[in-house]
Every structure is written in C-alpha cells, then in structure tokens.
C-alpha cells in the first residue's frame, strides 16, 4: 500500500527547525519560573477511564506483562505532586486510539504542566503568556478573550447549556446545519455529546480570530478530572484554549478528593460497559496518592503539534510531524 515517496518525512526541515526552537523557548520559559522538567513512564499498568479517550493496550507474552501506552502523563505527574515535587512540567509523546484526521495523529506531543497553589484562572494567565512566547515572531496575536462556557453558548446560540433540554439541543443543531447526527438521539445520556457537537462544529469556528480565546467553567457533567464548584449551576473548574478555532489546551483546577476520584473512575467504567467499550484498569496508585494528599494545584495539557501548526500556518498535522502515522 506504500507510495514510493512514503519513506520521506511529512514535515519540511524548516518546520523541524521551528519545532526545535519552540522546545528551547518553552524550556527557558519554565526554567525561569523554577518549574521542574520531569519524565514519567509512557507504558503503565493502569490507564485513563475517560469514556472518549481510548488507550492502546500492550502485552509482553514472555514476562506476562500487560499494560497501556499513556494518553497523557497526568496520573504519574499527580503522584509526583503528591510526593512533594512542587510545580512540574513534561514534554511527552502520548498515544490515543482511533484518532486520526487533519488535526489528529494517534501519536502526538503533549506539553503538560502543574502549578502548585494556582487555580484555573491563574493557570489560564500563564498559558496565555507561554503561548505568546512560543508564537512570538510567527503569529501576531490581539488581546486575549475570555468567556465562560455559559456566556459563549448564550451569545452564539441563545441557549443556557446548564438548563437546556436534549430536545432543544437537537433543534438547535438542526437550525445550524445538522439536521441529523447518526447515533445521537433524545436520550438524556446524549446531552453532553450534543453540547460537544455544537461547541466543536458551531461555536469554535465562530470564535474571535487571531487571539487566544479561553473558555472556562464547563458543565459539571464534563468535569473529567476538574473539581466541581457549587453555585446556581454546579460547574467544573475546567478551561480550554482556542486560537483561530483550533483547540490547543485543556486545563483543570485539579480534583484532589480521592473518594470523588474513585467514584468518577467507576462511573466512567459503567458508561464504558453500557456503550460496549472495554473496561479499563483504574489507577490505584493515583487514588493512594490522592489519599495521601495532592497539593491544591491547577494543571493543563497543550498540544505542541497544533501550536506548531499555528506557528507555521500548516493546514494538516501531518505537515508538522517528521513522519505522520501513515509513514511511521
């Protein structure tokens, strides 16, 4: 099936040089702020239970080992934090099954960092500074814009995401050019998927251009590993960064409660079972670390390949990878 040119790199050497410079700049950024660079295992016994993130499973028949390639270094880094590392960062290759497209490659480079004592708003500020440092000289960026999840839904679609019904979401998607989404219906369990469809297909492309856009305080049902804050509507202290409609980073004011973490793992696995997906081995080491005490902190994961796409004006992730998966 290979094309004759498939041995050649998918990215140009200019882009590879830009990647190298970006890595230099980010290391200088964190070094100046006394954030420690760490390395954690790529291959581990447990994995994320997240319903929408699937890990590659590996086994060694000789040693009778079984494990997963990590989809993010989050759990191991939180164990370092609980053990007293202080603020840390890592640049690592991560792996996600069934993710391939113009902005997805099953193997990609994630920058993940944790700031002890920060909440998600303080971390958004730092993400903004880092992104401006890394894109400096390549992309002219206007003033950063910040919206809550509720505000952006109200402004762009005229709906309150916390009170809207599944039927209303379905009707809203119809109005915006999605008369039918095969596999989504009017079940309560489809609500987040409808919100995610509207967010990624309708709101993201219409976000202000040429500036960082942060969206924060997601519905509690999309908390993932963020803590939930009570209020008129409970919200997850989670944020996303977009530039020119492209999702670049996802951050949390981190959940530190081990009981709640266990409940979320179990709920994820229940939902996996309901959807006919494989159950995932929960990370007991993370739960024990949380039991011991994770310092109050905020953490964020940023896709470096996508940042490089922005810096170089690349349309496809393949254009910034030395060898995209098709050539790997």
């Amino acid at each position: 099936m290979s094309e004759t040119s498939d041995w050649q790199p998918s990215a140009s050497f200019e882009v590879m040089q830009q990647r190298a410079r970006m890595l230099e700049k980010l290391r200088a950024f964190f070094s100046a702020r006394k954030v420690l660079e760490v390395e954690t295992p790529i291959f581990s016994h447990a994995a994320t239970t997240d319903l929408h993130i699937d890990s590659f499973q590996l086994n060694d028949p000789d040693m009778k080992w079984q494990g997963y390639l990590h989809t993010s270094p989050e759990f191991a880094m939180k164990r370092l934090l609980a053990a007293g590392s202080g603020s840390i960062y890592q640049v690592s290759k991560v792996f996600r099954r069934a993710e391939q497209g113009a902005r997805h490659n099953p193997e990609f480079t994630l920058l993940e960092w944790y700031r002890v004592g920060f909440d998600h708003h303080q971390l958004m500020q730092e993400v903004d500074e880092l992104v401006r440092t890394l894109l400096n000289k390549n992309v002219e960026l206007a003033e950063t814009q910040v919206f809550s999840y509720q505000t952006i839904f109200e402004q762009q679609l005229g709906i309150n995401p916390h009170t809207v019904t599944v039927e209303e979401l379905n009707a809203c998607a119809k109005q915006h050019g999605y008369p039918e989404v095969i596999g989504l219906g009017n079940n309560e369990s489809d609500k987040d998927s409808w919100l995610e469809l509207l967010m990624s297909q309708v709101i993201e492309p219409a976000l202000p251009k040429n500036c960082p856009v942060f969206i924060y305080d997601f519905p509690a049902s999309q908390a993932s590993l963020a803590r939930i804050r009570d209020g008129e509507f409970p919200v997850a202290e989670r944020f996303e960064l977009y530039i020119n409609g492209m999702e670049l980073a996802n951050g949390f004011h981190e959940l530190t409660d081990s009981n709640e973490q266990l409940q979320r793992f179990e709920k994820d696995n229940q939902q996996r079972q309901q959807q006919g997906k494989q159950q995932v081995v929960m990370d007991d080491n993370l739960l024990m670390a949380l039991d011991e005490g994770l310092p109050d902190c905020a953490g964020v994961a940023l896709g470096l390949d996508r940042l490089l796409m922005l810096a170089t004006g690349a349309e496809r992730i393949d254009d910034v990878l030395s060898f995209s998966f098709a050539r790997a």
Partner: protein, 189 residues
C-alpha cells in the same frame, strides 16, 4: 451483513444510506480533546448523483453497499437499454437511461467504460477519459488556421457538441476529454 465502522471511513468507501448506495467523497474526523468524536462525511448518492453531508457519532456502524466498478465494453443499444460486456467473461448487462445519463453523448461502440454495479445491476456509467469522435456537422474549415484562436461548435457522431478549432472539417476525427468536454487534438485517419 457486511458493515463499516466510522473508523474505517475513507474516500471511495461504498455505504447504504436511506436505502440508496452512496460513495464517500470526503471524511473529516473531529474530536474535542475531552469529549465525543464525530465523523463529518461528504457523500455522493450513487442513484441520484446528489452530494450530501452526513454527521456520524464516531464508532457507529453503517451497512456496506455491494457496489463494484467494472471495466466493460459498450456494445450497442436498443429501445430498452445500453448493453455492456465484461471482456473477460463475455457476460453482458443492460444499463437503463437513468444509469447511462449524461454519459450517453460520449458512448462509442467498443469503447471501454466504467460501469458501476449495485447488487449486479448497473446504476452508473462513466465514459473513458478520452474518446475519439467523428465530426458530423460544423461550419466549413478554415484551411491553414492552426492558431487555435477562436473556435466553433462541432456536432459529433454521438450527439455531443464540442468547441473545436476553426480548421476542423466535417468527417474529421477528434479526440475529446470527457471530464470537461473539451477538444484535445485532431486524429489523423
């Protein structure tokens, strides 16, 4: 029944949608980092020829369409159908007017066409990229004018009307690109 998961979607894949065989033109994978993935797909309905967009929740399965493209030789037509033959097995199929459609004006006996079969029945006929046709009607040729400037309409033996250079005369053979309907060259007998 054979089916495809959205993970297998790629251009050219043939699916059954709303009871009609369809072909994927373009597949776009979209996924929030945390959250549901979707496939936005541009699809051609092979019966109506219409292009439509569909969105799937990733992981859904869709019935495969038993659609094959066959290289077949055009033989002749009668009042009911246009007949094509598989040059290997000599098997013949008849395509109706709907399946032949616009291709009709390029059909020359013995030319090899691509016949799209759904459950063994022709639903579309694609002509060869280039066909050689005889000019049966055009204004008299202007001798020596090979500048290529200007041009005039010429009716061919299959009924197609093609814009040709001024020097082309009735009875001459011309090569035409069927994809854009443009004259390519004069063919010497």
């Amino acid at each position: 029944m054979a089916s495809y998961s959205t993970n297998e979607f790629r251009s050219g894949l043939k699916l059954m949608l709303d009871g009609d065989p369809c072909s994927i033109i373009e597949n776009e994978f979209v996924k929030p980092g945390k959250g549901q993935a979707f496939n936005r797909v541009k699809i051609r309905n092979l019966i109506s020829g219409r292009v439509l967009e569909k969105t799937f929740k990733s992981g859904e399965s869709v019935e495969a369409a038993d659609v094959m493209d066959m290289e077949m030789q055009y033989l002749y037509n009668d009042s009911d159908a246009w007949y094509f033959m598989d040059p290997d097995t000599f098997e013949q199929v008849g395509a109706d007017e709907k399946a032949v459609g616009e291709t009709l004006k390029w059909l020359k006996e013995q030319d090899i066409c691509t016949v799209t079969l759904w459950n063994g029945v022709p639903i579309a006929v694609t002509p060869p990229n280039h066909v050689i046709l005889e000019v049966v009607e055009t204004d008299p040729g202007v001798r020596g004018d090979t500048s290529g400037g200007g041009g005039k309409p010429a009716t061919c033996d299959t009924g197609a009307v093609v814009r040709v250079p001024l020097f082309i005369d009735i009875g001459e053979m011309i090569k035409v690109d069927t994809r854009n309907g443009e004259y390519v060259a004069r063919v010497k007998n």
